[in-house]
């Protein structure tokens, strides 16, 4: 079940319009099967805008969620209207447009909608700390230790040049760290994303300015939603 959404029927319905099932995508995002020919709706944040303070300010979230994420949703709706993509589940739009230069705009907006939703759920107030035992075992099997995993994830996040994302993913039977530029996500590479850190400058500039490493370290230590990662592990 999607975190922060339990028992809210209207939100679930709206979310079902937005979040569609697709084979191989993160299980936690799969809450419906198809979308009617109605616009995508910006999914609600799984917590209050100020819930991640002091690591991420309410001010940052209000712009990041209320402006950036919303604009990607609005742009996608404009671009998809009247096209074959209008009725397509989000993951399918991403899969259908990835790597096609003439579809770059629709891919960018669709992938950014998906990435941001995934990012909000990759964090929670009071997160960080030790992963649940089942996940911890898998992490230790792949990285040696939770610290080594976090270190690799932080290094990927800090070294992603320009805008992009750092991800913990399941590829085959191993967990690994990948980074992607701009809107790219690992969905199209056949791996299962577990958690992500947004390293577009808009994710941290109001709170950390140029100090991306501080932002990344604080997210990993204090906000990372390991339970979400475990659910995505399946």
């Amino acid at each position: 079940m999607y975190p922060g959404n339990v028992g809210n029927t209207s939100l679930q319905l709206r979310r079902r319009d937005f979040l569609m099932a697709a084979a191989g995508t993160a299980a936690a995002l799969a809450t419906g099967t198809a979308r009617a020919a109605s616009p995508l709706v910006l999914p609600p944040l799984p917590y209050a805008e100020n819930a991640l303070e002091p690591v991420i300010s309410g001010r940052t979230i209000s712009f990041h969620y209320g402006k950036h994420h919303k604009t990607y949703v609005d742009n996608l709706n404009k671009l998809a209207a009247g096209t074959e993509y209008a009725d397509m589940p989000l993951e399918q739009i991403i899969a259908a447009t990835a790597g096609k230069p003439e579809k770059t705009a629709i891919f960018n907006n669709a992938a950014q909608v998906w990435n941001h939703t995934f990012y909000w759920n990759s964090m929670k107030p009071g997160g960080g700390g030790d992963p649940p035992a089942a996940l911890k075992q898998r992490i230790e099997a792949s990285f040696g230790s939770v610290d080594a995993c976090k270190k690799e994830l932080a290094a990927a996040a800090v070294s992603q040049f320009g805008s992009g994302w750092a991800w913990l993913v399941l590829g085959g039977d191993k967990l690994k760290v990948v980074k992607t530029a701009n809107a790219n996500d690992p969905l199209t590479t056949g791996v299962t994303p577990l958690v992500t850190v947004d390293v577009w400058e808009h994710a941290y500039y109001l709170d950390y300015q140029n100090r991306r490493a501080d932002y990344v370290g604080a997210v990993l230590d204090k906000l990372l939603n390991w339970e979400f990662a475990l659910r995505n592990l399946g």
């Binding site: 712009f63 402006k67 950036h68 604009t71 770059t104 960018n108 040049f161 320009g162 805008s163 992009g164 530029a181 701009n182 809107a183 577009w200 400058e201 808009h202 500039y205 109001l206 300015q209 140029n210």
Partner: protein, 281 residues
């Protein structure tokens, strides 16, 4: 200054001396009266680096050019040390369009960090004694990223001026009209590209080797300097760090404000220098 010295030199004379010493430092060599117009990159190759073989000679040249002795070497190596060039104006000079806070981070942290990273990366590589532009043209990966960002930012600072805005001189206006129909058409096309560049990067006005003008987006550290015989004339930095403090997500507002700051004199100098370098073509 003591009264005696004031009497000897006169305030006007002292001001004139100070202006003569500091003008090249503050406004860039491209603005010296009677200076031969050179593309920005060449000017900066002689300002930032240490081109001669002997360290003393390199230092003398830098000082002789009216600059602080900026030519130093990385400790324990023979590698040149690239220096962060000064902003050509005060941090507050571009307000209200770009705030002092933005410039303090953008120049003092981001630009400075690219230069520092470059200095960390080049010792014991073939780039360690190479002028910045050559590194930009030849390197890949992290060295390219940091070198190109060091160069792009210096170029960007010079594209802006507290006395900027308005319209270019007649020659450049005629060229712009020829290639884009009108100044308004040019501005619209540049604005459209700058506001739609996805992710981080730079929008450039470029003079092509055949004399034509082009507007193109380059992602991340991308720069036309890397492309043979293409002359960068004007750039707008659309990395979010260039405008997030002042405009948040509203990049179009930043680009609109950018037009109030464009240093058309600098753009025209670049155009002339590139035209001259290509034999008038």
């Amino acid at each position: 200054m003591s009264d005696a010295r004031k009497a000897r030199f006169g305030t006007g004379r002292m001001v004139s001396i100070m202006v003569r010493i500091w003008t090249p430092v503050l406004v860039g060599l491209g603005h010296r009266p009677n200076a031969v117009a050179e593309p920005f990159c060449m000017v900066y190759a002689s300002r930032w680096f240490v081109p001669a073989s002997s360290r003393d000679e390199r230092r003398r040249r830098a000082i002789g050019a009216g600059l602080s002795p900026i030519t130093t070497f990385l400790k324990g190596t023979n590698a040149m040390r690239h220096e962060l060039s000064a902003l050509p104006y005060a941090h507050t000079a571009l307000e209200p369009h770009i705030s002092a806070e933005t410039l303090e981070y953008h120049h003092g942290k981001h630009h400075a960090k690219y230069v520092a990273n470059l200095n960390d990366l080049i010792p014991r590589t073939r780039f360690e004694n190479m002028p910045l532009e050559e590194i930009v043209r030849e390197a890949d990966g992290a060295i390219f990223n940091n070198a190109a960002q060091a160069w792009n930012h210096a170029f960007y600072w010079h594209c802006l001026s507290p006395d900027g805005g308005g319209e270019p001189d007649e020659t450049l206006t005629a060229e712009i009209n020829k290639h884009f129909g009108s100044l308004a058409g040019f501005r619209q096309k540049f604005t459209d590209l700058a506001t739609t560049l996805f992710g981080s990067g730079w929008t450039w006005l470029i003079r092509n080797p055949d004399g034509s003008l082009a507007i193109e987006n380059f992602g991340n550290a991308g720069t036309p300097l890397r492309e043979k015989d293409r002359g960068p004339l004007l750039t707008c930095d659309v990395w979010e760090h260039a405008y997030y403090i002042d405009y948040r997500n509203a990049r179009p507002k930043y680009v609109e404000a950018f037009w109030n700051l464009v240093n058309w004199d600098f753009v025209a100098e670049q155009y002339q220098a590139r035209t001259h370098a290509s034999g008038g073509i």
